[in-house]
Symmetry: D2
Amino acid sequence: MPTILGQNQYGKAENRVVKITRDGDTHHIKDLNVSVALSGDLEEVHLSGSNANCLPTDTTKNTCFAFAKEYGIESAEQYGIHLARHFVDSQPSIHRARIRIEEYAWERIAGSDANSKFIGADEVKHSFVRKGQETRLAQITYDGEKFEILSGLKDLTVMNSTNSEFWGYIKDKYTTLQEDYDRILATSLSTWWRHNWTSDEQRMPSWERSYDQVKKHILNAFVETYSLSLQQTLYQMGSRVINNRSEIDEIRFSAPNKHHFRQDLSPFGLDNEAKDGAVYYAADRPYGLIEATILRDGVDARIPVDMTNL
Amino acid sequence: MPTILGQNQYGKAENRVVKITRDGDTHHIKDLNVSVALSGDLEEVHLSGSNANCLPTDTTKNTCFAFAKEYGIESAEQYGIHLARHFVDSQPSIHRARIRIEEYAWERIAGSDANSKFIGADEVKHSFVRKGQETRLAQITYDGEKFEILSGLKDLTVMNSTNSEFWGYIKDKYTTLQEDYDRILATSLSTWWRHNWTSDEQRMPSWERSYDQVKKHILNAFVETYSLSLQQTLYQMGSRVINNRSEIDEIRFSAPNKHHFRQDLSPFGLDNEAKDGAVYYAADRPYGLIEATILRDGVDARIPVDMTNL
Amino acid sequence: MPTILGQNQYGKAENRVVKITRDGDTHHIKDLNVSVALSGDLEEVHLSGSNANCLPTDTTKNTCFAFAKEYGIESAEQYGIHLARHFVDSQPSIHRARIRIEEYAWERIAGSDANSKFIGADEVKHSFVRKGQETRLAQITYDGEKFEILSGLKDLTVMNSTNSEFWGYIKDKYTTLQEDYDRILATSLSTWWRHNWTSDEQRMPSWERSYDQVKKHILNAFVETYSLSLQQTLYQMGSRVINNRSEIDEIRFSAPNKHHFRQDLSPFGLDNEAKDGAVYYAADRPYGLIEATILRDGVDARIPVDMTNL
Amino acid sequence: MPTILGQNQYGKAENRVVKITRDGDTHHIKDLNVSVALSGDLEEVHLSGSNANCLPTDTTKNTCFAFAKEYGIESAEQYGIHLARHFVDSQPSIHRARIRIEEYAWERIAGSDANSKFIGADEVKHSFVRKGQETRLAQITYDGEKFEILSGLKDLTVMNSTNSEFWGYIKDKYTTLQEDYDRILATSLSTWWRHNWTSDEQRMPSWERSYDQVKKHILNAFVETYSLSLQQTLYQMGSRVINNRSEIDEIRFSAPNKHHFRQDLSPFGLDNEAKDGAVYYAADRPYGLIEATILRDGVDARIPVDMTNL
């Protein structure tokens, strides 16, 4: 037969698992979107349609919900480790499991008027508002021997309204751009980073604390970098993460340059200089797209090039 | 001719106007999406294609940007009042202007490490992260005599993880729903409210403070209402706003009931009771959709039925 | 009490009902997205949370699916008439029902190779591809006495690559637009039209044929109008529909002017004139937005202004 | 320094290039969304912010528009080859260019009434409606020596309303799915395929004809496969393409199983068997996601695993 089957995987995508934990009257939420992808001895499913080696996607869905109850959801990473290990270790035909998770943050609704009377409870601790900022990401892969744990985030939109310049670039026949010594730098960050934890023989990181620290270093680098290019800003973000977080070996960014162009108001007799506070037009498309991996020296890059654009 | 022209309007939609104000080193952002709709003596534009009475949509766009510079953007409402008045008062053929505005909130990026050295400035106050929660709304309409000012918000997603019940409803041939005495109540609020300010002869409200207070009352009502129906919760929200804010006469809500169904885990030998902290499936479609107007007694309703779904 | 309840409605939105009809081996699809909104004696649901008059949204969902089986789906309009009549006539507390429907078109996959061998059937007539063009719309409202039937469509994107001009407009202080004697005219049509059928005492239109004819007249008007303004093109569309279709009394359009700007290539020594075939930049935002109602002389306008933007 | 720069690329994304070609009165459209990604000697852009080796993304945008005029757009692939070659061959610091293109199809608006009079032209051939079905894709990569040409499509939504079964799968503790001997099989295909053309020394395929033939083989396989699993259907699609198109060595699919569940109508005393024509609920999430690569025997797989999900 002249054709062969290459890489293949299957599973249930976008299981919307919400877990409420009650600690007395105080409730906690974990709100996840969980996607399962399994690989293994699945040639016959493709060639003859025999499903003898196929764990149905519906069963992978059921498992996601059942495990949320059986094990709770301490963190997306910990929950994904349970799931990935289960699929590979319990099914002889499944050799590799990849769990991808999006996590949506909620925060408690801030206290109401001091003198208000609550109905039905002296103190209510079960009211939340969706935070709406970045979506947190995790990907857990297990091949029966080792884990690969990626964490990440997307849709974290940041802006510096000054301290960004762009000049000294190549000029060719198609150049019309003017150099700019005081521009807005805005981007919507998408990033994944890779932990060097791969098995229970190592001490497992605190996934929640690690996430908070990585986000803090990324934001700090954004605030503190006087930027001559968005690439420079990304590199500062990445190197701070690698230098400060020993549990992380690699980080990749995809950062659209969300252009804010100073509107030309001279036809109306108006100045519009950055230094005076200016009016900008926020453009949709096209946009610059800057992507880069930053690595700990000596390690191999493993985060796929396109992954930060999913 | 057996056909006639009815209501018509035109203008430039979705002008993305961003205004940076510099107060020394401290910058402030207003980030708006501005849509203009004009009506008037425009029969000939439709019948013969004569544009003699037509102010081009491109000009309305230019005006949005120029006014952001000339007048600043104190609030979306104040800025929209400037624009609406200008179009009607400056153009004899334009008799009515409606300005619709979406506003996106940004917050300052929280302080970085205490001991960090900023590059290029001792203290940097120009770094922002998009808040990502609700989108604020405003609609300013002017007919040459009076203004109508609507304010609103959309995509404010809230959840009570308990203190919601649903029972005692009609049962008919097509009923399968089980009564529920402890369910999740979650919704993504879309709401518009109408101010009773209509002209400069009245004292103008503080639009920023009014917005903050309305949002606070809505959230408080959500927290404090032990809910027997989503309708009851909406009515509590609306009546609190009307009762507490004398500048507002009418409010309309559109609230999808974002269903969180308790997953049936009994096939796997697992209990999943709300009281123990449960696992829920967050459903996309279909969803209940609850819509209601709440009015100050004696005033006429003016907010269109479909407006909260735009 | 100083606040009162105004217009309110509730129901299950976006029920994704798919009906397959088998005519021997030949299958037919109806693929609908059905939203129910009910009004009536629902004060207590809002005031006290008593649901005694409330038919649950879950029951309205069940009814949508059951009716698709019991009555089939001859057309979205006919199916909606069954549903609306049922809710009002069977429930004393429900006085008005509004059914909104989106319909997605499928077409048969064109014949495969003449000499191919089908597996399991001599001739297969059950394979479809989603058409992907406009979404068809219907809204059926019933108050116990009369029906109001609106039909419509959205996302029908059309382009004339010439025969469009724009000039002779008002110039003011904020004008920068150049007149254009050969521009692209492109829009994504959203439109609703109102039938004058209101009860069984009248002969019911053929909803399917009526839709096809309205769409044909709209497209013909687009092809045949040498356009001096998008308003003129819309009026031509509307008046053709009213003049040719006696079952329709009113039509409303919302038409974004999807700008295609000729790119300035002069910095690179290239002409880019429309007459030679030009290169255009398709802009996202902002866009002109043109909205108009066209009526049969003597009838009242009833289609809400915002409805074409939903 | 303990951190190093890994894979990086940059360019202008989503340039919306529309080219009208006039052949007398008959116009033709090419409607593309073009994204440029460049790699090379770009370390200093990241490390010091020196842009001396950086061709600005704005210039890459200008080049996309200028080349559409200078060379026309015979096909997305041919146009991308011009662009990729230009960036690498003209800039010493650029060593690799990747051009990704989405193409939107338009078709002529079908003839209007035979007896209609056109305004301004005897016969008008410049009116189009956007087809709205699949989006065509192309990716052209050039490293100064060889090209890699991928073509593809996304959002081609197909349905077989019978001739699909699913049974004989693994049962474990978390299984609840019932076997099904007559189900709907529906998917929205996303696929990329790789041509074996890599340089001008080979005869270049006809890109337009190749695309049409690949799409035909995919649809034929969908129609003609009596399916025991979606995997089997994908493999049939892929092997037909490889076996029939000698210019193609590899193809990868990502296919969501767009579930259509037969609604349980038994509580209402209604049968709902597939054989009688049934009513289905079209579910949004979760969905099965099936992904597979099919290769010509002996060639290496090069299409990235995640690429079909972009």
